[in-house]
């Protein structure tokens, strides 16, 4: 089936309405057939025309081609001649309207199919699922960064323990320094003692010579002890100084490290909060987009229902065209026509409830409700 609503009012205006004007006088002039049939054709055309009357013809649309009218049969009655000439034109106009309507609806349906597909793809790629995944990534990242901060804090605690041990060593070196001073003091006193022993040995003259040698050796030992004590004191002082400097530097580093950890913690917290806020915004946008997409999907779905009017209208017009052609053939044949029989035959060709309603002179409008029967 076939196409565009835009020329239907024009086509029906050209074909349907003249039908009323043309056929009515013939019906009144005593022929047996056409009064009722003309009414049916005219009613069908005018109802269809009314349905599309609000649609303006598209600017620039090419005019519907008018089919070539066949030459009237020589010797045919005037009505038959006119019917042979005019009815094919009506049928051609109506068929053209159907074709244009079908083409336009096909185009519209293609556009909607494209929109529907694009919408589905967009919803699939930016759905809430992606945002839930993003939230999972943020949570896992936040947990990993918190782990890094915990590790840094653990390192700082280990360094604090080392610091305490260094403080303990500083205390020990103080004790060593005191002990080395004690050694130097003992060496001094021993040297003094050796000096006194040498004086006493001199008083004893020959008898004290051996004792003088011992006293001299003791004095030498005390001098070496004093020298060693002084060296120990110097070394202990140096070690103590080094330990104190290490202690000061380690303490300063510990303070800086604590500050770095505190700042890192604050930075991580702020960054995670920012990302969290961004993710929340994104999630809200995605939800709104999804809702809008669902609304649009419902709108498209509704449009798909309305687009089906073409199929129904096409069937109605097809029925009218077939009846026009039958009418032309019957009139050209010159036989007697029975209006009641014609109407009964016409009614049997209907497929829609609207056709029946119009046929019986009742108001009809296309239903937009599906009627489903399961067997």
């Amino acid at each position: 089936m076939i196409a565009v609503a835009k020329s239907i009012p024009e086509a029906l205006g050209r074909a349907g309405l003249p039908a009323v004007a043309f056929l009515a006088p013939w019906g009144l002039s005593g022929f047996r057939w056409p009064g009722a049939l003309a009414g049916v054709l005219a009613a069908g055309c005018t109802v269809a025309a009314r349905r599309f009357a609000t649609q303006a013809p598209a600017a620039g649309a090419p005019p519907a081609p008018v089919p070539e009218a066949p030459a009237p049969a020589p010797g045919a009655a005037p009505l038959a001649q006119v019917a042979q000439a005019v009815v094919p034109v009506w049928a051609g106009q109506t068929a053209e309207a159907r074709q244009q309507m079908e083409e336009a609806i096909r185009g519209l349906a293609s556009r909607f199919a494209g929109m529907h597909g694009e919408l589905r793809k967009a919803l699939d790629t930016s759905g809430l699922e992606s945002n839930r995944e993003l939230q999972g990534i943020i949570d896992r990242g936040s947990e990993a960064l918190a782990g890094v901060v915990r590790d840094l804090a653990e390192g700082a605690r280990a360094r604090a323990v080392v610091l305490e041990k260094i403080r303990g060593l500083a205390a020990i070196t103080e004790e060593l320094r005191a002990m080395s001073e004690e050694v130097a003091s003992i060496a001094n006193q021993t040297n003094l003692l050796a000096l006194n022993a040498a004086i006493e040995a001199a008083h004893a003259r020959e008898l004290g010579r051996g004792f003088a040698v011992v006293a001299d050796e003791v004095r030498k030992l005390s001098e070496r002890s004093g020298t060693t004590g002084n060296a120990i004191t110097t070394k202990v002082a140096w070690v103590n100084q080094s330990l104190l400097e290490t202690l000061r530097e380690t303490e300063a580093f510990g303070d800086r490290e604590a500050e770095v950890i505190r700042r890192a913690e604050a930075t991580i917290h702020r960054v995670v909060e920012d990302i969290q806020a961004g993710a929340t915004d994104l999630s809200g946008s995605a939800r709104r987009f999804e809702e809008a997409g669902e609304d649009l999907g419902r709108e498209i779905s509704g449009t798909l229902v309305h687009l089906q009017f073409q199929d129904r209208v096409s069937q109605i017009l097809q029925s009218v065209i077939a009846d026009m052609e039958k009418f032309a053939a019957e009139v050209a044949g010159g036989g007697a026509l029975d209006a009641a029989a014609w109407l009964r035959d016409l009614e049997r060709t209907y497929t829609t409830l609207e056709q029946l309603a119009v046929h019986h002179g009742e108001g009809a409008g296309a239903s937009d409700e599906s009627d489903i029967t399961f067997f």
Binding site: M1, A109, S110, A113, V305, L307, Q308, D311, T351
Partner: protein
């Protein structure tokens, strides 16, 4: 694995409209323009359900129904008739020929999908 549905209708736009509804629900869609075209496309093809118009050129929907029911592979394939025909006689004719549902146009996509999901074989 997506189920395959064949749409048989002489109206291109109607096939498109039905196709949008079914493809949107994840079904694979095959189109045929009348009964004869459908029969030629059924060979070597696994179709899980058919949506078929009644009034079509070459081979109408009722004739197609009767013919397809003689094919062993499609003896029990669910077929939904989607038509402007609302008369009870036609419905009975469709039922006798082996239709599983009769949907009068215009159809609502949700309702067609409901009928499809109710009838399509697992």
């Amino acid at each position: 694995m997506a189920k395959t549905i064949m749409i048989i209708d002489d109206s291109v736009s109607l096939r498109q409209v039905v196709g949008i509804a079914l493809a949107g629900a994840g079904y694979e869609v095959i189109e045929a323009c009348d009964g004869q075209d459908a029969l030629s496309k059924l060979t070597g093809q696994k179709v899980h359900l058919m949506v078929c118009d009644v009034n079509m050129p070459n081979m109408d929907g009722i004739t197609f129904l009767k013919t397809v029911r003689t094919l062993p592979a499609y003896k029990f394939t669910p077929i939904i008739m989607l038509t402007t025909e609302a008369g009870e006689e036609k419905k009975k004719e469709g039922q006798a020929a082996g239709a599983r549902a009769w949907v009068v146009k215009p159809f609502k996509p949700d309702q067609l999908l409901m009928a499809v999901s109710k009838l399509i074989l697992p």
